[in-house]
């Protein structure tokens, strides 16, 4: 049992660091990081950085080299992540394409399509989104209604998707539709990729509880998709979706925002009723809980990495990360604002203001506990797939999709 790099890992780490040092700026402290003035500006910078990564051979580490990847081992991806976190580099925008759409294209697209679409995905020239959730199909994502009808070799798609990150700046999207409403729920789905500039696609932002708009509603009105853009067989859309859903749960991972270290630093500098907050027993009790959770997740990850290095696939155990970190973030965000007393809820535009970070976590945590599988769905996955407990009794089992009862929410 050791944390030391093997000689090969140490070489890889050195190579990664050297390249980063020549191409990016080191962070000055833990709070230093990349920030963009606007989404537009951020997108521009991400594309420039991604091109640089690609030309240097550091794009899409897990991808085959033919498509612009590096064919790195899982442990090398982890090392890269550790090294890159020391630098001020742009991030975001590309994960859904490279993490979810890319793998599904590799598995189901034709050779010509892979050659056409994968390289620009790895260079960041083309951005992809994922069109899965619908207003009436969230946790029960197989319950989607967006209709696809085949006429000759062209499909016509009508319906509405929701919670689509980045739809407004994406070039392409992966899309799951219902091609046979008379088949049972999981049987009548068909999977496509679609040009987001197609006539009939309309993207509208959703205003979130934070006031921001990172997601969209996407409306499809008589959108034409050639049958050649179908991924997997007609009616096999659920099987294709599952590949990306598992990738999504892995990708969502840790909730970002204030963690133990921030709460700990705050408590050590903050006055609470005439004493430092860190001297308060209830504060120490909470901090200890969060430290144990954070540490448990960290070392669970190390155990997963060790399993990956031995060539084993990571199990659905990784589902615990999002449950634990999402709830921890929600508690830490509330704690942080509590520490600032009544001022904790004041809105401020001041750069780096303490309350902003906790307020951001306050909103963000409520979302992260839902995104990419709610806490409840993840607990179902743990109990069914890890512990082998039976599925819930379902009221829609075996029924043709168009005969399944629907409510009015």
């Amino acid at each position: 049992m050791d944390f030391n790099d093997t000689p090969e890992e140490a070489n890889f780490r050195k190579e990664a660091f050297e390249w980063l040092k020549d191409n990016a700026e080191l962070k000055e402290g833990p709070k230093d990081g990349w920030r963009a003035a606007s989404e537009e500006e951020g997108l521009k910078q991400v594309k420039v950085w991604q091109k640089k990564l690609h030309d240097g051979g550091w794009a899409c580490l897990h991808w085959p080299k033919t498509f612009g990847g590096r064919e790195s081992s899982p442990i090398e991806r982890v090392i890269w992540g550790q090294e890159v976190s020391k630098f001020k580099v742009p991030g975001g925008y590309l994960e859904i394409g490279q993490g979810m759409a890319g793998p599904v294209m590799m598995m189901y697209a034709t050779e010509d399509q892979k050659e056409r679409y994968l390289p620009p995905m790895s260079t960041g020239e083309e951005i992809w989104c994922q069109l899965f959730s619908e207003p009436a199909a969230g946790s029960d994502v197989a319950g989607i209604k967006t209709k696809a009808e085949l006429d000759g070799d062209t499909w016509t798609v009508n319906g509405q998707k929701v919670w689509t990150s980045g739809a407004h700046f994406s070039d392409y999207g992966i899309l799951v539709t219902r091609s046979d409403p008379s088949a049972p729920k999981h049987k009548g789905l068909t999977f496509f990729f679609v040009d987001m500039k197609s006539p009939g696609i309309e993207v509208k932002p959703i205003k979130q509880i934070s006031g921001g708009a990172n997601f969209n509603e996407v409306y499809f009105t008589d959108v034409k998709i050639p049958d050649s853009q179908r991924l997997g067989a007609v009616g096999d859309g659920w099987k294709v979706s599952l590949t990306t859903l598992m990738n999504e749960r892995l990708a969502v991972g840790d909730a970002s925002g204030p963690d133990f270290q921030e709460a700990f630093s705050l408590a050590r500098g903050q006055d609470l009723n005439g004493k430092l907050a860190i001297e308060n027993d209830s504060v120490r009790d909470k901090l200890a809980d969060w430290y144990c959770q954070q540490s448990g997740l960290k070392f669970a990850k190390y155990r997963n990495i060790s399993a990956l290095s031995r060539g084993e696939t990571p199990g659905p155990q990784s589902s615990i990360t999002k449950i634990v970190s999402g709830n921890k973030l929600q508690e830490i965000a509330n704690f942080g604002m509590d520490m600032l007393d009544s001022a904790g809820i004041l809105r401020t535009d001041e750069e780096g203001a303490e309350q902003s970070m906790y307020q951001y976590g306050f909103y963000g945590a409520a979302g992260i506990r839902i995104a990419g599988g709610t806490d409840e769905i993840l607990k179902n996955i743990i109990s069914e797939q890890v512990l082998g407990m039976p599925q819930d009794m379902r009221a829609d089992k075996g029924l043709p999709f168009n005969e399944i009862p629907t409510g009015n929410k």
Binding site: M1, D2, F3, N4, D5, E9, I75, F264, R268, G269, I278, D281, R284, D285, L287, A288, D289, Y291, C292, Q293, S295, G296, L297, K298, F299, A300, Y302, R303, I305, S306, A307, S309, Q317, I320, I323, V324, E376, L378, K379, N380, I382, S383, E384, V386, L387, G388, M389, P390, Q391, D392, M393
Partner: protein
Amino acid sequence: MNFEFSADQMQLKDIARKFLEKEESVKRARNVLEGEASYDEDLWSQIIEMGFTATSIPEEYGGLGLGYLELCVIAEELGRSLAPTPFSSSVYLASEAVLNFGDDSTKQVYLPALAAGEKIGAFAHTESNTSPTESNIECSFSDGTLSGTKIAVVDGDIAGFYIVTAKNDSSVGLYLVDASSDGVDITAQPTLDPSRSHAAVTFNQAKATELKSDWSDVLNLLDRAAVLFSFEQLGGAEACMDMAKDYAMGRYAFGRSIASFQAIKHKLADMFIAVELARSNCYYGAWALSTDAPELPTAAATCRVSASQAYHECSKENIQTHGGMGFTWEFDCHLYYRRCRQLAANIGSQAIWKDKLISSLERANQI
């Protein structure tokens, strides 16, 4: 990075598990709980025969000279099977105290006897209804003798010698007192987990051997032991999770297995989360213990808190999942519920370890 136990260590764990299953360790825990004996002498002698007590004692002192990772996997299996023996007192505490703080002649006398199971050692630390600290310990050592009273000494009624915390001119240190010495008075004390015996021990100018130690060494001894106790707690927690799942799968209500109800599934998922966090933190502790890492105080407190929480969660929710049957004497749920509490109390409460954790992080991150 290799953050797993080796194939050999996993094999040792498997051997320990099968041995304890074959010997019906849980049933033996019930027999001790219901009977007059303080521990299961037969199981204890078999554990000695398996070499478990000799695991991390160096070869020069009659041990096997294996590392602490081997001891961790054994501890997990002893915890899983509720082994009613003085293993933790004798191995995690007494052997470690002699090994780390005894002079060579003390080691020559005691370590081979501990490895061979000829002597059982116990740790005498608590004195009252409050956690022992450097300033409140009343037991005292002077001129080669020790005086004072210790309570809730685990295995205190069967030990051949005690590792005792006592104050001296400058600090509080560790002393070794033979149970057969003049001035040692032992009274068994019943507890809520009678599968592990406890005693009050009074020392009246009893002859004591000084171990080269001060209060920081006492804390170090507790940190090292905490990692091993955490593995016992982890094993117990996982056993409870497995019991709850097995029972739920076979128990039908409203025409279906209760394991198909989300209320039960989510309860089990919560247990799984607690166990996974505890296991990961225990591995951290194992790493720190086995490499003598400077992070040991942080790692020990982290795994101790995490494993105590997991065992608490799993042992109480195991009863809940069993419903009325879980509240019967007949079912084993209460054996784990009791042991969980006994282990949580053994080397200091959750609140104390949480405080130690934050203190060690404060030291490690000086402002």
